[in-house]
Amino acid sequence: MNWMKLTPIYFLISALVIIPGLFSLARYGLKLSIEFTGGTRLTLTQVQSDSETILAAFKDYSPNVENRSDTSITLKMKTIDQPLAQKQIESLKEENSEITLTDFETIGPALGQETLKKTLNALLLASVLLLAYISFAFKQIKYGVCAVLAMFHDTAVLLGSFSLLGHFAGIEVDLLFVTAVLTILSFSVHDTIVVYDRIRELNKKTKGVTYIELINRAVTETMARSLNNSLTIIFMLLAMFLLGGQSTKYFSLALLIGTITGTYSSTFTAAPLLVAWEKLPFGKK
């Protein structure tokens, strides 16, 4: 089958998914958790007052209600230390005699900045190492470059989706999300390598076919396994997203989005990129 004939369409589909995400990234950015921005998150239970009263008690720390149920409230605010927070809670005791602090998390602003920087370092290091490894394993730099480009494609989809999710559904990006992004880098490359490996193998065995025909054959032959490979992971992630605990819910979602785009990109981005590379003035050799 001539998969590569449709290359422009694949790129168009990718663009349709990525552009809104990138637009959202540029416009709204990501909704960063306190792990990156610094700040305090606390949960109070056995609350009787309305949210406004609670907010007023912490008004010096620009608080926001993050979650409110009948008797519990979760607030997010500027960095405050626990003795001070406790003092404010005491002041609420008149109306809420049983009020208790059950969850308290605070991160200094400097620490947040540092985490952000380290995260970018990790992404950079991963890209460079993967580029080097693939170029080395496939003995040609174009494989490394195209695999890494496909990897950036997946990263863009993931970041874009979470920018949109952050803006419209208030979903935050935390340290676990970063972990998910890094994991997706390796998944993306994992799938791409399966396709490239077949191209490498066919390249050795068959003579007298064009590079595009070679890629077409490789894509056809590896389609089933790419899909099956990802399906088992998708089953697991879907179960974790729908049934798993709250704290890893969006982590699973990030991995899920990443795995799906990773599967798509290995066949419909990474392989066509090789074709595109061939058309570059320096590509054909």
Partner: protein, 448 residues
């Protein structure tokens, strides 16, 4: 009798399964208790049931990151100051009697940090924080007064003159209760050096006050009645019992070499973890079932064997978690579940390859061996890529420009272990099981 190679492999696998079951299963199920083996390998005691270590986010507790204020310390001495800081904090936590706590250090540029994890409730964190974080520098000093201008004027307080008697001369501090009113206090017993200094100090200051300072604040200022030779002193003030206990712990562990302050703090209620674990187990079970159904539906008999390998994968992994031990956090569990989904990866690559070889007209035995051989290239490269990112996340060399957060590392560790074990089960175990139990059909007539 000599066993064929695949049968030998099966014996090895069976032994591994028995060993893993022995480690993973609880000591007693119903009325059946497991046999007792007094085996010790290194620090590993197999006669005891190995616990599955739970991270702070599961059992609940407090994590604090403290930054050390090193401004007054010479650059060359900062690392050793940090180490001694860590030791002191460790001793305090130990003396206070909270088990399963960890104290770690991290250096980030000019920032020196101590990360403390203690399984205490949110209600007790303030106390825990003051226990860990206060310098607890004990000094004995003499208050100085400026005489009033006229005889009737009261003398004004002009500060303290330090003496050579400090917390370093202390042998032990204990909580005491005063005989009349049962008020808690702290008794100090000096070492030999301190006893002499204290004797000299009291001798020279009879009928004068001596101040006991804690972190520069006077806790108590008794008037010396006579020379004290026994090397004992009392601190009384308005202590609660808890405060007195904290103070003795701090004094016994020694003063912190540098002052610290909290830069990040996280309290996790234990109930959250229990709920998340239950949900994760359900999610994992359903996910596993879907993977098994998928594998059997797609690859038939081979799928059954792959599923057996997958279950063994789970068993080996759990056993290894207990042996290493891996501290299980919620992201770690997510990493484990994810690795279950990935564990069949290599099997899928191999089985698809097998189908191709069969289509190419090869006999099933040849096809099977070829599939394992030829799929290896892509399995190797693909998994190396995952291990590379796994290592970046895990940051084994503690590079300061990368993250070293516990949650991320927990996930990375389970991911890396998952890949290594899945290569073993997906290739070695599956291959030998197939060699022994699988009989394929040869296509007839053969295309030649």
């Amino acid at each position: 009798m000599k066993l064929s190679k695949p049968l030998q492999a099966l014996v090895i696998i069976a032994l591994l399964v028995i060993a893993s079951l022995y480690i993973v299963l609880p000591q007693q199920i119903g009325s059946i208790s497991r046999p007792f083996f007094p085996i010790k390998i290194g620090g590993l005691d197999l006669s005891q049931e190995l616990p599955l270590k739970q991270g702070l986010d599961i059992r609940g507790g407090l994590q604090v990151v403290l930054t050390a204020h090193m401004e007054s310390i010479e650059e060359v001495d900062r690392q050793s100051a940090l180490d001694s800081l860590k030791n002191k904090i460790e001793r305090r936590v130990d003396l206070y009697g909270v088990s399963e706590s960890t104290v770690k250090t991290a250096v980030n540029g000019q920032d020196y940090r101590v990360i403390v994890e203690i399984p205490v409730d949110v209600a007790d964190t303030l106390q825990a924080l003051s226990l860990i974080g206060e310098t607890a520098k004990l000094e004995f000093a003499l208050p100085q007064y400026l005489a009033g201008e006229t005889a009737t004027d009261e003398a004004t307080f002009a500060g303290f003159t330090p003496t050579d008697l400090t917390g370093a001369d202390l042998k032990i501090a204990e909580v005491t209760f005063e005989t009349e009113n049962r008020l808690p206090g702290v008794s100090l017993t000096f070492k030999e050096s301190g006893r002499e200094k204290f004797q000299k100090l009291t001798k020279e200051n009879i009928e004068k006050p001596i101040a006991i300072l804690l972190d520069g604040e006077a806790v108590t200022m008794p008037i010396v009645r006579q020379e004290i030779t026994g090397g004992q002193a009392q601190i009384t003030g308005s202590f609660t019992v808890e405060e007195a206990k904290s103070l003795t712990v701090q004094l016994n562990a020694g003063a912190l070499p540098v002052p610290v302050s909290v830069i990040s703090q996280k309290n996790i209620p234990a109930t959250l973890g229990a709920d998340s674990i239950r949900k994760s187990i359900i999610a994992g079970g359903i996910g596993l079932l879907m993977v098994i159904v998928f594998m059997i539906g797609n690859y038939g008999k081979m799928g059954i064997i792959a599923s057996v390998s997958l279950v063994l994968y789970g068993l080996f992994t759990l056993a290894l978690y207990k042996i290493i031990p891996v501290v299980l956090s919620l992201p770690g569990i997510a990493g484990f579940l994810l690795s279950v989904g990935m564990a069949v990866d290599s099997n899928i690559l191999i089985f698809e390859r097998y189908k191709e070889e069969i289509r190419a007209g090869r006999g099933w035995q040849v096809a099977l061996e070829l599939a394992f051989g030829r799929a290896w290239d892509s399995i190797k490269d693909a998994n190396t890529a995952t291990i590379i990112t796994g290592l970046i996340l895990f940051n084994p060399l503690e590079w300061s420009f990368l993250n070293s957060s516990g949650a991320v590392r927990g996930f990375a560790l389970t991911l890396i272990l998952g890949i290594l074990i899945s290569l073993f089960t997906g290739i070695y175990v599956t291959r030998n099981l197939l060699r022994v139990f699988y009989h394929g059909k040869n296509q007839t007539p053969k295309k030649l």
